[in-house]
Symmetry: C2
Subunit: 214 residues, 2 copies
Amino acid sequence: MAIAAVRLNQLVETKARILDAARDAVAESGWKDAQIALIASRAGVATGSVYRYFDSKADLYAQVLALVSEREVAVVAAIVEAEGSASQCLVDAIYTFAVRAMRGRRLAYALIAEPCEPEIDAARLKYRAALADQIATLVRRGIADGEFVDIDANVAASCVAGAFMEALVGPLAPEAAPDSDAAKAIAQSIAGLSARMLFRHPPPELTPVSRVSA
Amino acid sequence: MAIAAVRLNQLVETKARILDAARDAVAESGWKDAQIALIASRAGVATGSVYRYFDSKADLYAQVLALVSEREVAVVAAIVEAEGSASQCLVDAIYTFAVRAMRGRRLAYALIAEPCEPEIDAARLKYRAALADQIATLVRRGIADGEFVDIDANVAASCVAGAFMEALVGPLAPEAAPDSDAAKAIAQSIAGLSARMLFRHPPPELTPVSRVSA
DNA sequence: TGCCATCGTGAACCTTAATTCATGAATAAA
DNA sequence: TTTATTCATGAATTAAGGTTCACGATGGCA
């Protein structure tokens, strides 16, 4: 009755190959390449085979999103739960997120901002929510510790998440020039600004990163 | 040669009726109702007639977006150019935007966050950019006047715009309970938080609006 | 009144991928 | 070595709307 281990392994591996192909296609040229036939061919399987592993296109991409997003959320979660003041954690989390996004530019752009089909877009919302949840946790800690102003943690977390995501859209856009120095500067800018929203005693001035990119 | 004025008026009126029908459909039940046949029937014209006035579905909705968005951008622009400190203008602009959005909940949700087809989504980006531009203008003024921290105005504007838009997504969502008191409280919260990002000397504490909704 | 240009009509046509499925191969059980 | 399952295949099918177009109606104009 039980399927042999080797065979099962094949299945898991093929599924992974399809997921990878899908992710890679998006990472290369965005959602316009998110077509079942194309992904199948990239994964070295027939079109129909994709449906042996995924219920539908939406299902496939929901899993791709989960795959990629969970890693990012985990990275942020780790920072959120790390040692140090809430203020420091917040800045670190945002900075790290921004820098990582800048590295995987095209994919990050697709995950965050690129226009795509409604079903995929809907799946994206979950990712954003999960990220906001992490921030919210941190905000609560900051408030409890008296580091942050006393404000609804969920609203604050949305604001923070919205701020740094939106600020990333421009730099991540495929038409923007890739420049890893500017990327870090922007990440720093974004982290600083986002953090100021909450700090009870903000630093007197931000590093004037604006001039770095000039 | 010249078409009679009456006849021309008819044309303008019909076009307006189609635009209105499209906007109303979206305002009622979102993008799923954004179908040419449906809009045509609502406007009291035949499906094909829509194509006498608009090049394509994308064109139609781009114009719908423009119609609605331009008003909102204009409102913000008026506040941006109004008397008063940059700080005050910023808070006013954000608060007003948020309150207006909360009034036209469903439509605002569709314009800001609801998953939709890529072509429409792309048009949305322009709206966001226009709004960010207004904020950027204000930010420059605030920096020049020494009210705001010295930071890249475009990055800052993106952050501010992203912050208040993202924070609106939850409250605007169709499944959220409509409550005009909570709406104002959230608007205030959002305005306060967004503003703190930039103020050189932030108010010691925000109004603890978080408790109003509790 | 008759003619022309323009507008309105809506059923038929397309397009574009997603999805299915009859078939065959490969593997596990007997 | 059969036999039964499961898996892979990819061409054919579907589905869902956007878009077209041949035709009729209407209004302006001489």
